[in-house]
Point group: C3
Chain length 412, copies 3
């Protein structure tokens, strides 16, 4: 591995790091777009906190916890709380990480990933969670739960030995966030007005659909880095295949969700189109490097149907997920993970079972741990805002400000 | 060509692919910003459809149709409908495409370009076209017309043999979209209220100019990939010259359009400034690799004047183009294509005639084919929405939703 | 230096150029978000003008003025007005600029930087400056003052010989803009209503906080290019360290500003969180390549406190800076520049004194020159709009248009 190739691999990984960072803007715009104006500041605040605190927590200990074997073979968990990680001597030369990139690039790329898991939760619990409790949850989830799960596979742990495959984190990132979202939504209960006296779900429209659409397009671009960077090098054949499968799955997911929802609801539903794109992206994430373009299209088409059904299912279960995060990240994350056993170069019944086991173990761990964490937070500081705060909006109560304080509409 | 250089070329092309993809966000924001609130969802829906369906159509057949000779010399048109294109054996190694990039990168970069042509149409027909008819048009135009025209030059066809030059697609992308926009605008007729009883054009202001400005800045960035990627390698001297000529033409176009419109209308018109930047970008696209920076500035300055005149001309012709797409993409596309015969390293009377012939042939083909396609669509499903739908907005009628359903302004 | 490494270095520098360009969108959204709706068009217009005119002025003469020794040893100032700079013969080969990139990349990267300094001023003077006067100021400041100061350090001038260090421009870019902002704000006086009859500062809320938050996230991403590109090569160890220190300082700045302001004002203040992130980014800019990650966190934490204090100080001095530009760019720019003498691999009392001298000299030059320029502009065309224009908004008076002309809110 010569220094030129090391340099180009590292450049690619830095670009992908930037793109994954940019996904946080995508998530922020998607979430505020699909929720009400009165909670906009609150959601933006939560998302900024996730990026900043998530990165710092990953720096303080998460990185060492997740990749225990990397630094001179020492057990990572013992190294935990090694505030001020220092690059190992060989961390800057081509010998490191199979010549792909430097130690610092490694940390930053993984750190940007870590914060993503918490962002997924943020959307699902929007408009009613207490900001203080949520911030505690983020610190614990990004600092401990995410890296522990990650270490089982990407850190070379037992899921890896067992044969579980998850290329870029359909399970390890999206479902890890999705399971916590499910638990949090269950514990929080629905927003006031989401279900009427007959328990029928009522639409609570968001306040800025152009922001939501902008968010989705930014997320698609960000996925170039999320999946493209998960190659962990700039290998031309694999990176370019991954971008193709990622984009085709996104396109197929969007078209399929739009067609499915048009058939079901007789309406060209933009929100379903957007969620279909995201579903396709999540769906291809586990096996983006294993699939042919044809298989990517099929995975995306199925993800588009899954999304529409998933959103309906969440409603039926009387769960209130304002942005559809559970359907997108959890349900499509599971679909994508299982798809590795059905399509692509690793397909087979054994692999399918491996995938199923991985999904189950990660799910059980995430559900139990988020249940414990959220229960504890609930008993200490509470997790749901007061009724008056929910009705008047979290922006005014928690932040003392308005998202559009000087905005005037025109009279007509 | 060693593997390090192949890798870096491929990385550059993947980045440019991402940037061209990002242009779709730029176009979306520009188009919704310059149109009325009541049609916002509709425009976003159209743009998402263009990206997704365009990419899939290009995958199903467009790519093979456009580059017939690439895959082992077989005639592309016969290969059409080869759903599930498979990379040729040598498509992943430095030997492919002169060492620039892999087959997958090639497909995805070109696929992102393909969708752009349809997006140009989208803006011009906004606020009155039937979504169903428009989607049919997109599928046919991106799947067939765009790749056929592209094959004549970039696929090594007769325009290429003849000496016609179009570096990044001033004619092959922008005019291909622009001609269809012209035909569609002519067939559709103006929006209700665009021309008063004396046939005088009336301004119909958009609803969100910050979105439009954001769109233009994103497009400028995207053009780094559109033009920079058209080098088809990371050649340092050419790529960096191209970014310089592209940016200088954009800057000169903006300044010149703003000055021209200030002189004519005694107002610092932001919309003209924005269109001037786009005009400069389109203007440099045909010869970004041939021009000195000085020549790029001159091309941009002229494009800025052309834009202001062009917008006035479209009005005078009683055509209604809500976002100025025809002036920007068609008129400046023609200007830029002809400029290759006037400025830069290929300038000369012979080249000018070649350029003129190319513009004419592409124009004739695009006008005739879009006329036929749109006429057929019109007779089957219709192309214009009903008066009541146009007045009340396409969002409510076609999509059953509002762009800002929960948006409240402040009382003052 | 082989051609592969030259190519990859050049690719990295072109990407960074694109990212610094993208910062202009970040600044634009931040500035319009934090100001009132009635001045939105005006601010967008100013920002577009800065990018376009700034780039052209840098092209006409600024680049040669700033890097006098680069072109065959000739004195740059004599070369000034060499409209149509031509790349020197060796400017496209690995020998140029230590093998990092081509002459064109050099020009464009530096040109994008140049425009940034003026953008900083734009935010501080918003909502009351005359557009004509401001445009004159931009042309002079970007064309002359910025490159002169830059030549003292980056052009190999006396500040460089003296031992002053400024990695990516905490002083040379951010303070150069910040000092001019301070002078302009002082000369302009506060907006009507900013201080009440008892001289107590009154909040004048902006009109679109989501735009401001979007702007900050785009700026963070842009800083990957601003600091990452200042390495002037793709050196894996240094570029990746720089991205890590940059991101950690941003994260720490955000958290620290939010905690400080929560302690002081009992509110989760999103604007302070945003400014804290920017403060951290500016704070790390002078020594991003010298600091360990731990030191970057400390610099960011301090920057976060500095920002909160700085904003309060500006208020106390009866200065009216609508977007907090002086606190972010000037005060944190000074902090970051001095931090090079306190933390990191160059720390020491001598270095601290060098940094202090550099800050003082640049400050004196910028204050005096902007005072002279603005005084002259004031006496010729005036710098402040009329009271009626300020009250009714600059958009209507200078541009004859509205930012959201068709925007309707929903009735509830």
């Amino acid at each position: 591995m010569d220094s030129g190739l090391f340099t180009i691999n590292n450049v690619w990984m830095m670009i992908c790091t930037g793109l994954v960072f940019f996904m946080h803007l995508g998530f922020s715009l998607l979430e505020i777009g699909l929720t009400r104006q009165k909670n906009t500041i609150n959601i933006l605040f939560k998302n900024l906190f996730i990026i900043c605190a998530g990165l710092l927590m990953y720096y303080i200990g998460g990185f060492n916890l997740m990749y225990p074997g990397f630094e001179e073979g020492s057990a990572g968990i013992l190294k935990f709380a090694g505030f001020g990680i220092t690059a190992p001597e060989n961390g800057m030369v081509p010998a490191y990480a199979s010549g792909g990139y430097t130690w610092w690039t490694d940390f930053l790329f993984q750190g940007m990933f870590a914060a993503t898991a918490a962002t997924i939760v943020s959307g699902a619990v929007a408009e009613r969670i207490k900001i203080g409790g949520f911030m505690m949850f983020v610190v614990i989830y990004v600092g401990f739960i995410y890296p522990i799960v990650g270490s089982w596979k990407w850190g070379g742990g037992f899921l890896d030995s067992m044969g579980f495959y998850d290329f870029a984190g359909a399970t390890l990132v999206h479902s890890v966030g999705g399971w916590a979202a499910l638990v949090a939504v269950f514990l929080l209960g629905p927003r006031i007005g989401k279900f009427d006296e007959n328990n029928k779900p009522q639409p609570i429209p968001g306040h800025n659909i152009p922001f939501a659409a902008t968010g989705v397009l930014i997320l698609w671009l960000g996925w170039f880095g999320f999946n493209g960077g998960s190659v962990l090098s700039a290998n031309p054949a694999i990176t370019s295949l991954v971008l193709v499968t990622t984009s085709l799955a996104a396109a197929a997911g969007g078209i399929s969700a739009f067609l499915t929802s048009t058939l079901m609801y007789k309406n060209y539903d933009l929100t379903m189109f957007l969620n279909g794109i995201l579903g396709g992206l999540v769906g291809i994430t586990a096996g983006a490097d294993l699939m042919s373009p044809n298989e990517a299209v099929v995975i995306g088409l199925i993800a588009g149907v899954v999304i529409v059904m998933g959103v309906a299912l969440i409603d039926k279960l009387k769960l209130d997920d304002p942005v559809g995060a559970i359907a997108v990240h959890l349900i499509c994350g599971i679909w994508g993970t299982l798809a590795v056993g059905i399509f692509g170069s690793m397909a087979g019944i054994d692999q399918f079972i491996n995938q199923l086991i991985g999904v189950g173990i990660v799910g059980a761990f995430c559900v139990i741990s988020s249940l414990i964490i959220l229960k504890i937070i609930k008993s200490f500081v509470g997790i749901r805002v007061s009724e008056i705060e929910e009705l008047e909006g979290l922006d005014r109560h928690e932040h003392g400000m308005d998202a559009y304080p000087d905005f005037r509409a025109n009279e007509h």
